[in-house]
Symmetry: C2
């Protein structure tokens, strides 16, 4: 199949290009390299050395052949995006368009008004442009859109796949029973970034219903891992690996922290529970979605993860993996939670549709942690050199923290009096 | 109270400024006059002559005093909006900010990719800027945000006010019963415009939860009417009245059509049912929301309407009002529905919270129609001169219509062979 990847230079995008090429698909894509810039602006870098785009693309084409491409360099939002996207998709004529081209960081979106604006504008307008460009250039192609499990928040009930199940009913005392079949499951996102994904979901749903677009909307858990099989041992094919506050995610960050002996950064109680999956599972699931497309007009939502873990469980497992790797006893440090989220909560997300297509979730976290740490150890100095980018800096409600600090100072000065 | 109105030059914004001033509140506001431009671009005009901004403001200040203002002229989106909004709100120090400053037309948003972009960018980014500007300049002010009943679509169950009721439960066969209390009621909007309002709702909800903003989110029905008491008979205080395809709404359009003998434009079967309210009810409800603010951190959602009507019922009532006004028997014409919506459906929206604050819905549609037609009759020539702007032109799925027309042409040519 011909698969166009938006965000092809990213952590997932590059991995998917390699994975799909390895499985015989023809890949094209687009990226504006903003992820590279933003991680650098945050004072960090990829722990695993990141080849330049020409280097990685050269290795890709020499391994998998010149039939791949084109690979274009522009952003999905912005004033010229409509014409560029329409022309690019028209030339490539994809069977599937995989949209991984969004700003992916909750803390980055919460840093400032400007960052919230850039995240909202880039993601919502970029996705809207992609929908319209598909309508113009390849209306029969299948959109595979990356959302996030974070769209749902942590409701006190099982989290279905996008919509209430067909047999779900609402009991309204005094009014009776009503079917909830076909209604979107309510979203309750926890950052500006997560809300952009909710907005995208609404827009994609509407394009499916109104234009007959075929879309699979992926509510993905948190991805971890350094590599997939398709990359082999060629460092030019490696994907990026972030560990800073903004662009690093829980398990990857813990492993990088363990490697340099930085205390594992657990926010709050650590009892927050989220869904996780290794990079190879993410690639396998995306492949399943691509090879088994949605119907015309269908807005198909997959919850995509291997299993839930609490943050504390992950910290404990990383501590054990550190011991195992001879890194000694990495301490666990509980930080005041900079986020606004429930400390303890019910969490029971459903993941059935991908299993129905053949997905078998990985179930060996210790082995995965060992492999990540082994891949990171040669790059210990790179992580150490960016140690300052690790600790949490971004407050979800900075004004409240100012008030709190002010009250604490007042309290202290009263004591001093 | 000091009330800042975003969109103060609009149909609702101007009416609210007059209504609040009449009730002793101090009003300031902002507008970029884009509504004036867009109606003109659509080849139409306000049926009731619209004073220039300096004229209407002069009449306003001479009637209600110079304490009012400032009234600024800029848009809520765009790169300079953050500094301008922050400075304006900081100077005015409002008790309440009423956000009526959005692009309000579903058909306009569906006309083209460019219009969808302008609607999404203007509304979502404008509202986001307003949230951040309030956090900077007046974090304790109460936001009254205009959403729409159209956010909900037409679900097969009663439509609660924003969230599932506290006693609502979900029955999931095989899993048990789960409380739905506090979960957002799912939205299913029917145009890009309506989706911008859904996105706003999510963003406002998040600002309340994270920053402690106090907000009332108004899910308003379709407003009709030419005037409110506060305007008296001063034509300089009149509000606009649109009747074109894009910016005119059902009842107002029917009355304008009746006045010039244009067939009443019923889309599809006319059995589509929506919630409606007269302009004076809208003003009364907004006043109640302002004078009874939400708590800090509360995202309070009001469904705001007098009662539901089907489009056919409204056409019949307008036909009768036309007879009554001596306009003869205005024909009703059923157009192929250019929209993507259910022809017949369940519709049972709840409106309890405003009634709890004292709202008594108007219940005399015939008298309201007589009054609108009487106000429009002196301006018959203005409407007649823009007759071409009345019939529906904008298709929700233009490609499908092209295919259909192509198939029909093929069919016809086969018959001709």
């Amino acid at each position: 199949m011909r698969v166009f990847i938006a965000g092809v230079d990213g952590y997932l995008g590059w991995s998917l290009a390699c994975h799909l090429a390895q499985h015989g698909h023809i890949v094209g894509g687009v990226d504006d390299f903003s992820r590279r810039d933003r991680v650098q602006e945050c004072g960090s870098t990829s722990a695993i050395p990141l080849p330049t785009w020409p280097t990685r693309l050269g290795a890709f084409l020499s391994k998998w052949g010149d039939d791949h491409g084109p690979f274009e360099m522009f952003g999905l939002h912005g004033n010229r995006a409509p014409e560029l996207l329409t022309a690019t998709l028209g030339r490539f004529q994809p069977d599937a368009v995989v949209h991984l081209g969004e700003m992916p960081s909750a803390p980055w979106s919460m840093k400032s008004w400007e960052n919230a604006r850039l995240t909202m504008d880039g993601n919502v307008m970029g996705s809207l442009n992609l929908l319209f460009a598909m309508r113009e250039a390849c209306p029969d192609a299948h959109l595979v859109k990356l959302g996030t499990m974070g769209e749902y928040g942590t409701p006190d009930c099982p989290i279905p796949e996008g919509y209430f199940p067909d047999d779900a009913e609402m009991r309204l005392p005094g009014s009776g029973m009503f079917s909830l079949a076909g209604m979107a499951f309510p979203r309750k996102a926890g950052s500006w970034y997560h809300w952009t994904k909710v907005h995208d979901t609404g827009n994609v749903m509407f394009a499916c219903r109104t234009w007959g677009l075929a879309a699979t909307d992926i509510m993905q858990g948190v991805v971890y891992g350094t590599r997939i099989d398709a990359m082999g041992d060629d460092p030019r094919l490696a994907t990026r690996f972030d560990f800073d506050e903004c662009f690093g995610t829980a398990i990857n960050r813990f492993c990088a922290q363990a490697v340099i002996g930085h205390p594992l950064t657990v926010y709050g109680s650590g009892k927050q529970t989220r869904a996780f999956l290794p990079l190879r599972d993410s690639m396998r699931c995306l492949q399943l979605a691509i090879e088994n497309p949605a119907e015309k007009g269908e807005h198909r939502v997959f919850n995509q993860f291997a299993r839930p873990w609490s943050v504390q469980e992950l910290a404990n497992a990383t501590q054990a993996a550190g011991q195992h790797a001879g890194l000694g006893n990495v301490p666990i440090q509980h930080y005041d939670n900079p986020r606004h989220e429930a400390a303890e909560h019910f969490y029971q997300p459903v993941c059935e549709k991908l299993k129905g297509l053949g997905y078998e979730p990985s179930d060996d976290l210790p082995a995965d942690l060992d492999a990540i740490i082994a891949d990171l150890l040669p790059h210990r100095d790179r992580i150490e050199a960016h140690r300052a980018a690790i600790a949490p800096q971004t407050q979800w409600n900075p004004k409240a923290v100012e008030v709190l600090e002010h009250e604490m100072e007042d309290g202290l000065s009263e004591v001093a009096d």
